[in-house]
Amino acid sequence: MPVEEIPRETLLWMYETMVRIRVHEERVAELFAQGKVPGFVHLYVGEEAVAVGVMANLRREDFITSTHRGHGHYIAKGGDVKASMAELFGKKTGSGKGKGGSMHIADLDVGELGANGMVGGGIPHAVGAGLGIKLNGLDNVAVAFFGDGASNQQNFHEGINLAAIWKLPVVFVCENNQYQISLSYDKQQTIKSVAERAKAYGIPGVSVDGQDVLAVYEVAKEAIERARRGEGPTLIEAKTYRFRGHFEGDPQVYRSKEEVEWWKKNKDPIKLFEEKLLAKGIATREELDAIWEKARKEIEEAVKFAEESPWPSKEELLEDVFSTPTKGVLVWQW
């Protein structure tokens, strides 16, 4: 989409949000290496344009469901970064009070229904959100993010079929980063594009360059507006690439260093967008530098908050299993 057609404010929000995600993820990589972030961490570096291009079209009241690689979606949807950083550390002040961690980060206050540790697990949740929207007569939408690996999974097929037959306001966004852990895309399926699968459900399917935030913005805008109008779901495939391994510590024996370097050099979504913004005179170098500076400051503050936050107390172990006070015994010690 030509930059001239998008408000400057939106363009700068997109740039800033991509930068915030990049800075966040690279900082988390360091923190993980330092042993400060326990568990598994799956970073979004290189894929920023997908979350941002889609989310630039969403409202706070819209819903999203996310994946293992959920930090980018969380940040772009407006999640509280201090709370998520504390969650990554396992602290009491975390978005999940230290009970969910990286793979389960959620912020229901901004419609982020959660990262998901199960591949494809969140896809039907977006369908459910879409059903709730429809039956309540709202004009919101739900977006399901998932990877190329999940597009082979039952939740993808069943969820997309339900949304199609019920004409729900759901947009399915496949982030095809070309690897399902170590298995390359061409070994997972015979079709060239996940978007081709839309045909099987009688809905539009579109494939887009996931490294071009404006291209993602454009197709997402169309799909989201279509959903808001009550015309049903769309399947979008955003072809992207993860610059880091599947998880931090992944030895990446399945791909060459040259391949990764090629993508970093030629297809970095932030660099590509930056060149456009500068060439078109939308922003100056100084303005963009200031955005990076601001993002670094924000993330450092979040890290400081996380580091200084207390651990959960032992009593909290038994809390939040159920929401309603209930008679009888839930946990007993033999």
């Binding site: 977006a126 959100a129 039956l135």
Partner: protein, 327 residues
């Protein structure tokens, strides 16, 4: 005292659904053949005509998809779905949505999620439906933290417990024994609720406690009736809600009688019966006058042939023998 009319277990469930759908627009019913067909057990009969296809929603055979849809809809707070899963045996294809998603979201999100959904499903052998349509797999749900598990045995309990389950803000697995749908019993016309986590002493006695679930409650009551003629006083406790569990009522009964037989149609290992036996052993051992007896089917798949299936299902005779052994 006013005479309370008698209706079937299926009708009692239907009344609970009708009441909740009438009361709260957020309550929607979803599942295979729940619409015009009225559910293969007739539990949703008439709801489609009354509330329309938007709120009584037929689904494709896509259990993971529609159970997951219910989870997502509940998590948004926009709906309170009641899902029908025709057979508990089918839960394998959707188990992730139940045990990893519905059950865990609240805990993992630090208490910020509510998942007000009910998954209604059926259990029970006795219909020559063989190994994939006859199981009683409630233990799989009891095992997983974050799920409430309800298993009624009478029409009265079915109505009151389903109303509570739908009004509950947590995921509830509501298990209906197929052999009970046609059972009639007194049910008030007006709505009422039975709190989850409250066991019911179905028959008072002083010599032996039988803890039994679902259809086994009725078999146990038959046995109690028969033994009463010989002067043996059997107390029958129906937990009704397996999670949360009313351990007080169960333990008080064991302490009173000093003898325990547990009767359950679930598989014998790591099941509900062993759970209750462990409870008795750890919390009421000093009151026990005899070893605890457990009556369950054998650890085999459910056989097809009626001759074998009759052998598989715990019989009144086995229950009676167990009671005699602990006396």
């Amino acid at each position: 005292m006013a005479v309370v009319r008698e209706i079937t277990f299926a009708q009692a469930l239907n009344e609970a659904l009708d009441y909740e759908m009438g009361k709260d627009e957020k309550v929607v019913v979803m599942g295979e053949d729940v619409g015009l067909y009225g559910g293969i057990y007739g539990v949703t009969a008439g709801l489609y005509e009354k509330y329309g296809p938007e709120r009584v929603r037929d689904t494709p055979i896509a259990e993971s998809g529609f159970v997951g849809t219910a989870v997502g809809a509940a998590a948004t707070g926009l709906l309170r779905p009641v899902v029908e899963l025709m057979f508990i045996d089918f839960l394998g294809v959707t188990y992730d949505q139940i045990y990893n998603q519905a059950a865990k979201m609240r805990y993992m999100f630090g208490g910020k999620a509510r998942i007000p959904m009910v998954l209604r499903t059926t259990c029970g052998a006795g219909f020559s439906a063989a190994a994939q349509h006859s199981q009683s797999l409630h233990a799989l749900f009891i095992h997983v933290p974050g799920l409430k598990v309800v298993m009624p045995s009478t029409p009265y309990d079915a109505k009151g417990l389903l109303i509570s389950a739908i009004e509950d803000d947590d995921p509830v697995i509501f298990i209906e024994h197929k052999g009970l749908y046609a059972v009639k019993g007194p049910v008030p016309e007006e709505p009422y609720s039975i709190p989850l986590g409250e066991a019911d002493v179905k028959r008072e006695g002083k010599d032996v406690t039988i803890v039994a679930t679902a259809a086994m409650v009725h078999k146990s009551l038959e046995v109690a009736e028969k033994l009463a003629e010989e002067g043996v006083s059997v107390e029958v406790v129906d937990p009704r809600s397996l999670v949360p569990l009313d351990t007080d009522t169960i333990l008080n009964s064991i302490k009173k009688t000093g003898r325990l037989v547990v009767v359950d149609e679930g598989y014998p290992r790591a099941g509900f019966a062993t759970d209750i036996a462990a409870l008795a052993a750890s919390r009421a051992f000093e009151h026990l006058k005899a070893p605890v007896k457990i009556i369950t089917p054998p650890a085999t798949p459910v056989p097809f042939s009626p001759a074998l299936e009759n052998e598989w299902i715990p019989s009144a005779e086995r229950i009676e023998n167990a009671v005699r052994e602990v006396l």
